[in-house]
Amino acid sequence: MSRARDSGSVEYFFNSQSLREDQLFQDMLPEAVKAFEAMKQIVLYPEGSMIFAEGQRPRGVYLLSQGRANLVMRPKGKRARIIRIAEQGEMLGLSATISGEPYEVTAETLTPCQVGFIKRDDFLSLLREQPETCFRVAQLLGQSIHESYERFPLFDKTLPASAKLAHLILSWCAGGEETDEGIRLRLPLTHEQIARMIGTSRETVTRAFGEFRRKQIIQLEGATLLILNLAELESVAKSCQRSQKLSCLRNF
């Protein structure tokens, strides 16, 4: 692990396109940006290293200014599951840092990463001093909560793989591009990664994609995914929800 100074990457974070959250930090006060800049430490991680681990006491937040990272969860006695892949521009470890609870997931780098680290105490005092920043952070958290509830079906073992895959594809649609033929998006993950996300094998994912293609629900060319029949995809995701009656919520 080596350290280097850089400038501009915090600016990048606030202006980044990859923040789907509608440029949450867009009109953040210049002082706040400056404060962020002064607090953060740049850390470089090689591919395959761990930024933080599930269950660890929170040390602070990590701004992923370059690279991609896997967010992984290991339920007791189960295989590790990918929760999602964090892209350049995301802030990791946010809720644990604020609540003081252990990190919910493990962050592992998929590519060499450049990360801006801000210590917990520094971050908390920044939030107290800058209500506007705090407000944006709250918005970001609210959104993450909703997203994590939407992720529940992916963990339901009574759901067939095709329904989970449909759920996952639907969750990507917001980031897609509307065309005459349907919604076009870039497949952000390999089949192997998708398998680890919905808890099945690579072969099953490939088979489910084949089935969707045969039914003319999607079209797949390289890494470009075209959703031809959105309604059908929704019904694949839903029909199974009916049979399992959201049993996920029962495991109190």
């Binding site: 809720s95 919910e104 001093e129 209500p131 407000f135 970001l140 609210g142 959201l246 919520l249 495991n251």
Partner: protein, 239 residues
């Protein structure tokens, strides 16, 4: 003042007898005054619906007295109870702050006093009062953590007894009193509703309760529950 539903309405937050450590109750004087000026205090009877899953958020509901159940509707129209909120909690928070649709339906299970704050007022209040905003961030982080605790338990299978024990322990940590006989709490839900919460039948819930009674782990009279042996409940969940 005599009020409907047998509740004493408390209008002022500053000299409220219900004030607790939770959430907005212990804001500074300034913050509390500003909060008071935007809140609308309402009394609700049992069974009132505050908001419905999928609705556009109108604002947040702060629970002062009483309890509210949060449920979701599955595609086939069955109701599943997520949890029961206790006084001091704020409902509809993430939807209001992030401008997303309400995630669950909130319905009172007993007469309740609720402070409603309109969305615009609430958002302005947060922007102007850093202290309150910080608390919202903390509250949301806690909710986020809970969501992950739930996700983690999804893949694991639990017996109905284990789930009931988990639920009772959770209630012990909430609105309960320590007495000589044990931890005393009032059941907010019927056996039928508990069954919907842990995904089993009403009959099973009743059987599990009498089983626990027989083992002297709990004592149940009407809707009053006394947990006599908390360690035994914990042992069930650790199996």
């Amino acid at each position: 003042m005599r009020s409907p539903h047998g509740l004493e309405a408390v209008e002022s937050c500053q000299d409220c007898v219900l004030r607790s450590e939770s959430f907005f109750c212990n804001l500074s004087k300034d913050g509390l005054q500003a909060f008071e000026s935007i809140k609308l205090t309402t009394l609700y009877p049992k069974g009132a619906v505050l908001f419905v899953e999928g609705q556009t958020p109108r604002g947040v509901y702060m629970l002062c007295q009483g309890r509210v159940k949060l449920s979701v509707c599955s595609a086939d129209g069955k109701m599943l109870i997520l949890r029961v909120s206790e006084p001091g909690e704020i409902l509809g928070l993430s939807a209001t702050v992030s401008d997303l649709l309400y995630k669950a339906t909130a319905e009172t299970v007993e007469p309740c006093q609720i402070n409603f704050i309109r969305k615009d007022d609430f958002l302005r209040f947060l922007r102007e009062h850093g202290e309150a905003c910080f608390r919202v961030a903390q509250h949301l982080s806690q909710n986020y953590h809970t969501a992950y605790v739930q996700i983690r338990s999804l893949g694991l299978s639990h017996s109905a007894m284990e789930k009931l024990a988990r639920l009772l322990l959770d209630w012990c940590n909430g609105n309960s009193r320590n007495t000589e006989q044990g931890i005393r709490l009032k059941l907010a839900l019927t056996h039928e509703e508990i069954a919907r919460m842990i995904g089993t039948s009403r009959e099973t819930v009743s059987r599990l309760f009498s089983d626990l009674k027989g083992r002297q782990t709990i004592y149940l009279k009407g809707s009053t529950l006394i947990v006599r042996d908390r360690a035994a409940l914990e042992a069930i969940t650790n199996d």
